[in-house]
Symmetry: C2
């Protein structure tokens, strides 16, 4: 299942950046499961990784190699991503396998070993099938391309339980020049990113300083991937990489940065929302807007408490206007000195709660009308301050249980 349509967009070429894929048979035969992304010399690369304490071996290696590149004032040169196996919970063997993958790809491509960043996604706790993975690298390199089709195939090559490839692209006018930002992402379950979600790779031709690139990545990830949740489960393998080749327009002045930040945020948010629309078993796309909070953190706490409530999520699945479950979830959010008399809750254009209870004009008919929609916005005003946050989530359906109970993903 999935909510709405998300067609893979047209992706303009980002000069010097190429993507290749292979069918390496890592978990299943005849499936695009290995992706290589080639980054031109002189590019800047920023990364954002999971905060799960049991982070996967490739995350450990990618972080170390990226730091080594940055210390030399360089970007990484190659990303290698496999699906079908997360190489997480694999201890020493996992680290050795992640390093061996970098060594072999570096040898084939003629670049330093630590300029290769490895990424994995799939089942946790099983050793990587190294022979098949390494065997797939030459054909992935042979297929390198920069066009639409290369982007779409790379988008497909990183999927696990996802039902469709996810891409987003904007082209911005900056000064006299233009800047393109292309991105792909994957993720469908085990989605409650803490830093970055699952896998997302975003590339731009902008010419931009490393420190600025780093801070823009942090900032835009915080308001996109860190604001989505399917099931509250933070993956061991989350990573988001932002590449700037530097061959397009310069992003330097405050005005240029503002335009670029806005475009980057749009790409990040679109990729993050695409993950929710394709959430495991999703039949609804739900936007939770919390306002009038004392702090952004408090607004996020309330939004995530509602977004993770199995009772709210099953009511959404059933299109049942059982608003008492939303009220109960808001009431248990970790907010001190909560004055429920000041809280209002709206479902779409219908006021549900005011003055500590059901709103005077509320009718079940109005509530049901909104609940039947495929895209639903819930607005919660706390009456405590000026801060706010927006979180996106999906419902909890029979298909979510089936996907996670019937298959080892």
């Amino acid at each position: 299942m999935a909510v709405g349509e998300t067609r893979f967009p047209a992706m303009p070429v980002i000069e010097g950046l190429r993507l290749g894929t292979a069918m390496a048979g890592i978990k299943k035969p005849e499936r695009r499961d290995l992706v290589v992304i080639e980054i031109p010399q002189g590019a800047r690369v920023a990364g954002s990784f999971t905060r799960n304490a049991f982070c996967a071996a490739p995350v450990t290696v990618a972080k170390a190699n990226l730091a080594a590149c940055q210390a030399r004032g360089e970007g990484a040169r190659l990303l290698v991503i496999n699906t079908g196996n997360a190489n997480a919970g694999t201890g020493e063997v996992g680290l050795r396998d992640a390093h061996a993958t970098c060594t072999e790809l570096a040898r084939l491509a003629g670049v330093p070993e630590d300029s290769v960043l490895p990424f994995s996604t799939g089942v946790i706790g099983e050793p990587l099938p190294m022979e098949r993975l390494l065997g797939g690298l030459p054909s992935a390199l042979e297929s390198l391309g920069a066009d639409d089709e290369a982007w779409q195939q790379a988008g497909e090559g990183i999927l696990t339980t996802d039902t469709r490839a996810k891409g987003a692209s904007v082209t911005l006018t900056i000064g006299d020049g233009a800047v393109t930002i292309n991105g792909i992402s994957k993720g469908s379950g085990m989605i409650k990113p803490n830093m970055a979600t699952m896998l997302a790779f975003v590339a731009t031709d902008a010419a931009i300083e490393q420190t600025l690139l780093d801070s823009l990545l942090r900032e835009t990830v915080d308001r996109s991937f860190n604001c989505i949740t399917v099931d509250g489960d933070t993956s061991t393998n989350d990573a988001c990489v932002l590449i700037a080749t530097g061959r397009g327009a310069e992003v330097v002045s405050d005005e240029q940065v503002a335009v670029f930040r806005d475009g980057l945020q749009r790409v990040m948010t679109e990729l993050a929302q695409a993950i929710i629309r394709d959430g495991e078993g999703a039949t609804k796309f739900v936007t939770l807007q919390v306002s009038e909070a004392a702090s952004r953190e408090e607004a996020l706490d309330v939004a995530f408490t509602v977004a993770h409530s199995p009772l709210v999520k099953t009511a959404l699945f059933a299109s049942d206007a059982n608003w008492g479950r939303i009220l109960a979830a808001v009431g248990r959010a970790p907010v001190s000195d909560f004055d429920v008399e000041r809280v209002t809750i709206d479902l779409g254009d219908v006021r549900l709660v005011e003055n500590g209870g059901r709103a005077a004009g509320y009718t079940e008919e109005d509530g049901s009308r909104v609940m039947r929609e495929e895209e639903i916005t819930i607005r919660i005003a706390l009456g405590r301050g000026e801060e706010g946050a927006t979180v996106w989530t999906s419902d909890l359906s029979h298909d979510y249980v089936s996907i996670n109970a019937d298959y080892r993903s």
Copy 2:
């Protein structure tokens, strides 16, 4: 569905304490849905209530009335409990209805109005059907009894989506005398108590001081009802009441208190576990034991993070030894400076994780053997200190989704 058998136990008479029920037709006809508990004069009563900010009207009134009784050095005289309607999210009307229920019952029984404590459970946000509720009070009073059958019928009269009545009883030897502790509870979904869960009523004939009774209630609730979770959703109506009639043996000396505390804890834990065994859609009863934590709070954080993980819960439902999901959930728990190298995770008698990854001797066959059992213990040692905590939970099944998506509970 429900896990294992929980037969309603034999309940010795607690002299002076009587229970009555009626079919008031609050939500459905021909259903025991109204319970009155009569408490003898001179008893001491302690209460523990939900911390949900949107607490229900009866909780507000019960807390205020209990405080008024305690200020006079008295216990409450009557408890009145309806199922089928939570009287929560009902604002001013809800408070008026809760007060009106107390007024009418006080008039019928000839006791002060504020010595009646009201409790409600059921759907949130709908007004109480006052005519039917008040109409049922006389027959509930007429049926008052102290025997086994009265306890069991009261146990049935407080159920909502529960599939069976829940009771527990112990008789302790204290000094030269004996003390009995009887309890009933209800709860099946919206279970992640914060203070006390759903509804539980425990009575003893012990003679015990009010401040000691209060602290023993807090302490035993903290290690029973506050350590269970079905879905992480804290109800608006949680309440646990402990009544001591004072007609049995005295509980005064340290040794007597220790014996009484132990017996009370057993009753509380049995009642709490009965809620999990009857959790909505439950097919597994899962014990999470976290040890070697730096604090009890940290141990609880880790245990609840695993207990609330939809991915762990669906794997349990599927009897799938997908232990990577347990590892990922432990890894995202809110614990700072987490050294995963020191963590061990055991599933029953099988070591899953050590040295940051899969345990050397682990085989899928061993893991699957444990996962197929109906009662499963997961032990997580953090290698950080001496503290620990135990939490009980159920799995996430298709029936959970059906129960909460197909019916308005």
